[in-house]
């Protein structure tokens, strides 16, 4: 960890301006990711602006705008509080399940929603400054591409980076068509559809998302939907708890008559961004919610997977996880 300046933001405008003015500064929220990365000398900001005292932590019903009737969760809300809030539990149990599948109780108590979106990859080459990594040091090469890449991407990777986004929460949010509310450097608020928020690596893997320097996440809005009774978050990992996903799947269905009226499938642990399984959704819409259709949908999605040397198993695992998550969603989202 290198010496850095610490300040506590008094208001949003001042926080945004301070960070916008210094390209080597960062916001500090729960600190569960940024401080680890600083201790490892991976992130080297010379200034941290602590935003935890700002007033963006509420969960509330959206009163107006495009997402009226939906729920807004504060950018500075803690993961635990968000997961357990009645509005979230009742309307978006998928989000509750996804948040609670991540990290540990202690970390979720500290972690904020904005920080969860902006947490960085867990690629171990990224974490080890002795290793080449384009994300940490553009142009140095990708250590994982031909290294140990068991935990790495199946979709959307480039030769410059094969890392995955580690979040569970974000997998549910992309499935739920959430919208990220950002306080811009021009003082105006902007809205970013969740699916557009995180990026694929291309040849600029150092950029995880489309946020500009200094932009602050103030809230995440989730539009109203009819998925609450049929949604499920499945996380497959190397141990029973407290591990990042090998593969995770957020599934949600709305059934009308015998057919799937609306369906969302998103995957974690497979791409540089929370992966919306568009092919699976396309296949399922309008069809019956049968195991055969779930399998065909999973095939449709996983057909496009491009595994690396050590993660070939994730293609089959992903296929099975999609089928299982959809099946459990149909059963009301329980583990039974």
């Amino acid at each position: 960890m290198r010496p850095f300046k610490y300040s506590r933001a008094q208001n949003t405008g001042n926080a945004v301006q301070t960070v916008a003015a210094n390209t080597n500064s960062k916001f500090l929220a729960g600190g569960t990711n940024i401080l680890d990365l600083m201790k490892e000398d991976v992130e080297r900001p010379d200034e941290l602006v602590d935003v935890t005292r700002l007033n963006f932590s509420q969960v509330r019903t959206v009163e107006g705008g495009a997402n009226k009737g939906g729920v807004s969760i504060g950018g500075l809300g803690r993961n635990t509080d968000t997961a357990n809030h009645p509005l979230v539990r009742q309307n978006f149990p998928l989000l509750t399940q996804a948040i609670l599948a991540g990290a540990s109780q202690q970390i979720r108590n500290m972690a904020t929603n904005g920080g969860n979106l902006n947490q960085r990859t867990r690629c171990s080459y990224f974490y080890d400054t002795a290793m080449p990594c384009n994300k940490r040091e553009p142009g140095s090469g990708c250590g994982a591409l031909e290294g140990i890449n068991r935990m790495h991407a199946l979709f959307g990777w480039s030769n410059d980076c094969v890392a995955v986004h580690p979040s569970d929460m974000c997998v549910a949010l992309v499935a739920l068509d959430a919208v990220v509310k950002v306080q811009g450097t021009d003082g105006k608020e902007r809205s970013i559809p969740f699916a557009d928020y995180h990026r694929l690596p291309g040849n600029t893997p150092q950029k995880d998302n489309i946020l500009n320097q200094g932009e602050l996440i103030t809230a995440i809005e989730i539009p109203k939907n009819n998925f609450a009774s049929k949604s499920y978050y499945l996380k497959v990992r190397d141990r029973a708890s407290y591990a990042f996903a090998l593969v995770s799947v957020a599934a949600a269905l709305e059934i009308e008559g015998n057919a799937i009226k609306n369906v969302r499938v998103a995957m974690g642990g497979v791409s540089h961004k929370p992966w919306r399984a568009v092919e699976a959704e396309k296949f399922l819409t309008g069809k019956a919610a049968t195991e055969a259709n779930f399998k065909a949908a999973a095939d449709a999605e996983m057909r496009n997977a491009k595994p690396l040397e050590h993660n070939k198993f994730k293609v089959e695992l992903g296929r099975r996880a999609i089928v299982r998550a959809l099946t459990q969603a149909m059963k009301g989202g329980t583990n039974a």
């Binding site: 960890m1 290198r2 010496p3 201790k39 490892e40 000398d41 867990r122 171990s124 080459y125 974490y127 080890d128 400054t129 002795a130 290793m131 250590g143 031909e146 290294g147 140990i148 068991r150 497959v236 190397d238 141990r239 029973a240 708890s241 407290y242 591990a243 990042f244 090998l246 198993f313 089959e316 695992l317 099975r320 996880a321 089928v323 299982r324 039974a336």
Partner: protein, 760 residues
């Protein structure tokens, strides 16, 4: 014995949960500086330049030590080291003595600064350039260049007791399979740490996290060229060791740094460093062949082990249990060791038996299936009643009772032999079992016991309590021997100024130290009694020893309990502030872990007691039973129940003993299900360098563990009859799990860990 055996809670428990128990890194000194080692970023080669300018200019930096300016240390010299009392050393690499690099992560420099943060950030500024050589990384491809070690712990390493190949070829039934286990890293809860304080130019005190203050002292004294009596190592509490603590040279680096800056220096090893700098269990490739007759009796066992080492003679001895288990008339046990450019392997909880029982006990299961015999029955019918190598009787062996008890407690009879027969919902359920075994050692130990003016007692020895409960159990033994409640016994451990005790390795602290505690207490009791019976003022005056009993801090006449004399009264009448006794007991099975330091006095009974030691084979045994639930679609394994039955001699404390077995089983579940150190094939860096990548079991991975003890004292190890208990709990666990996985799914997985990808 009123206290021995009872489930007494740890006498240091309150200190530990309130933060009152001080661990090595917590002995902060006035004016202390901090050292942060810089590690190599290549695995093999030579340092060509070290640019220290930026680091030196960084704020708070006091010194940057490299091989160019480091003080010269005494060189590696096995004979001299042995003479100096270094019974083992982590790796043959005194820090910063030359420009050679042997593995990724090797210490190549050290920054000393006012604060830890300053030292660490300056360390990141150091620029080391190397002439890089191609490292040897891949075990399989390096094995052809490997060597066949001649000796293993002083005995023949390569064993063949007959015409194994011919017997195997002729056997009516035969299996031959290869099993592999992964490299594992040491991650005790407390990372390693040393604080070095120079009291004078030739006098050093080190606060260190160590399993043996005397070995650590010997290491510091040898490399720094000091007199052992001028080095003091203090280590009252240790947060787990498992073989990793006390023999690594960061403590020498701390002392070097302290000498340079002329201030006390703390060097705390980081988790990331633990992946390379404090030893590891090396990966193994084990080929097992079993041959048996139609009668189900084993005719021959062949166990070929291949593994690696680096800067040490140590290699993972995964054939050890194959010398002890099963009554096959002939067996062949061999080793081949490659040299790899990765962190140096060392002892890790049941070194050898942990991966070795995975291979042997998986093979036993496979053979049982081959012959369509219940795997437990197969083991029973091949039980070795005497040591198969020496034909000596075992000092105690209740393995058959372990099998029986385990089967009953676990419900083995509900198991279906045929795989894939039991389900619950979408889970396949399987049962598996395996044999556990570990040698029982007892080294020489010296204990001093004092009775104080108020009749309270203090027991002192340089043994370590690495979290196992040594403090508590010693207090129990002393309490019984002196007739005092445990609360009135103070125990002092973990200081090299205390009387000699063995390194806490080989599961032998209890077996070694307690006979000496007992002997010293008895001696003290006799002296006290002597003062009473020869004192006209005592109510015991003129009584013979046989007439006198003791309890509650006093002596009394057996026939007339109103005639008493308390220890405190005896002390007062004789104007004594303190009286003491000190005894040294002899080793039974010198595991080489005792420290050759002059004893205070040889306990008279010791030599006689152990006179039959050479006639027996000393081992502990156990049986492990696992029930697994497998979600076959996703490849996930949950161990739902585990039963462990152990025959380890007398149980000294039912609670701490149980904790040791539970801990061992959990350690074994880690090896079975998830622990694996992966290296990059180009740079040989461990990719699993933090606890986020290197998984150990969490609560949800661990079921209720049902522990049972046979609890029959071993009459040959000591009059107390306690063998060790620290390591046996891990042995057999991964095989029990893998065998259960086969029973559940019909899939035989011969490569650890059993991660989900292997079951898909």
């Amino acid at each position: 014995m009123a206290e021995i055996g009872k489930p007494v809670s740890r006498i240091d428990g309150r200190l530990k949960v309130t933060g009152g128990a001080k661990y090595a890194a917590e002995f902060n000194q006035v004016n202390m500086a901090y050292a942060f080692p810089v590690r190599s970023t290549i695995a093999k080669g030579t340092i060509t330049a070290t640019d220290t300018s930026a680091a030196e200019a960084s704020s708070g930096v006091l010194a940057v030590i490299t091989h160019k300016n480091a003080a010269k240390l005494n060189a590696i010299n096995p004979q001299e080291q042995w003479k100096a009392g270094i019974v083992f050393l982590g790796e043959d690499l005194p820090p910063l003595q030359d420009d050679k690099v042997y593995y990724f992560g090797q210490f190549v420099a050290c920054v000393v600064a006012e604060t830890y943060e300053q030292a660490r950030s300056a360390a990141a500024l150091l620029k080391v350039t190397y002439a890089v050589e191609k490292p040897r990384i891949d075990l399989k491809s390096e094995l052809p260049n490997g060597y066949r070690p001649e000796k293993l712990f002083g005995e023949e390493a390569q064993i063949n007791t007959g015409k194994t190949a011919a017997v195997l070829a002729a056997a009516a039934q035969k299996i031959e399979h290869t099993y592999t286990t992964s490299t594992e890293n040491h991650h005790p809860m407390e990372p390693h740490a040393s604080i070095a304080v120079w009291e004078a130019a030739d006098k050093l005190t080190i606060y260190d996290a160590t399993q043996g203050v005397l070995v650590t002292r010997a290491i510091a004294a040898y490399f720094l060229n000091l007199k052992p009596e001028n080095v003091r190592v203090i280590s009252p509490y240790v947060g787990g060791g498992f073989g990793s603590k006390g023999a690594w040279l960061h403590l020498v680096l701390a002392a070097m740094a302290a000498r340079v800056v002329k201030r006390p220096v703390k060097l705390a090893v980081t988790r990331q460093m633990m992946a390379t700098n404090v030893g590891r269990r090396s990966a193994t490739i084990q080929k097992i062949a079993l041959g048996a007759g139609f009668d189900g009796k084993l005719a021959a066992i062949r166990h070929e082990s291949e593994t690696y080492t680096n800067l040490s003679q140590f290699f993972e001895p995964s054939g050890l249990q194959t010398k002890v288990l099963y009554a096959a008339p002939i067996r062949e046990i061999t080793y081949k060791v490659a040299k790899l450019n990765v962190g140096t392997p060392t002892f890790m909880r049941a070194p050898g038996e942990t991966p070795g029982t995975f291979a042997l006990e998986s093979a036993m299961d496979e053979m049982a299936y081959e012959m369509k015999i219940d795997p437990l029955e197969f083991r029973v019918s091949n039980h070795a009643a005497v040591d198969p190598m020496t034909e000596h009787p075992f000092s105690g062996n209740n393995l058959l009772e372990c099998y029986r008890t385990g089967a009953e407690k676990f419900g083995w009879s509900n198991r279906k032999m045929q795989p894939r027969q039991t389900r619950s919902g979408r889970n396949l359920i399987g049962y598996g079992m395996a044999t556990a075994t570990y040698p029982a050692g007892r080294s020489s130990a010296t204990v001093r016991v004092q009775v104080l003016i108020n009749g309270d007692v203090k027991v002192m020895t340089a043994a370590a309590d690495i979290g196992t409960g040594t403090y508590t159990v010693i207090a129990q033994t002393a309490a019984d021997a002196l007739g005092l409640p445990v609360q009135r016994i103070a125990v002092e451990l973990g200081d090299s100024n205390l009387p000699t005790a063995p390194f806490a390795g080989g599961s032998q602290t209890t077996a070694s130290v307690h006979p000496a505690v007992l002997a010293a207490c008895e001696m003290l009791r006799e002296s006290l009694m002597g003062l009473a019976t020869t004192d006209a003022k005592s109510k015991l005056s003129g009584r013979r020893a046989e007439e006198i009993a003791y309890g509650d801090g006093k002596f009394f006449v057996r026939s007339d309990r109103s005639k008493t004399d308390s220890y405190a009264d005896i002390m007062r009448r004789n104007s004594k502030v303190m009286m003491e006794a000190c005894t040294t007991t002899k080793p039974v099975t010198d595991g080489g872990l005792g420290s050759p330091v002059a004893p205070c006095m040889v306990a008279p009974a010791a030599s006689e007691e152990n006179s039959d030691a050479k006639k027996y084979s000393f081992h502990s045994f156990g049986a492990q039973f696992a029930e697994v639930w497998i979600d076959e679609d996703l490849g996930t394994i949950r161990v739902k129940r585990f039963t462990s039955v152990q025959d380890v001699g007398r149980i000294m404390n039912e609670k701490t003993a149980r904790s040791q077995i539970i801990g061992g089983v959990i350690f074994g579940l880690g090896a079975a299900l998830m622990e694996a150190t992966e290296h990059d094939h180009r740079w040989a860096n461990p990719v699993t360098r933090t606890l986020a990548d290197y998984h150990v079991p969490v609560n949800m991975d661990v079921p209720e563990i049902d522990v049972h003890f046979i609890n029959k004292p071993d009459p040959h190890i000591s009059s107390i009859g306690a063998r060790g208990i620290g390591e046996i709990g891990i042995t057999g666990v991964s095989a029990a799990v893998a065998n259960a996985v086969f029973n559940a799914t019909g899939k035989r997985i011969r490569d650890l860990p059993l991660s989900p990808d292997k079951l898909l």
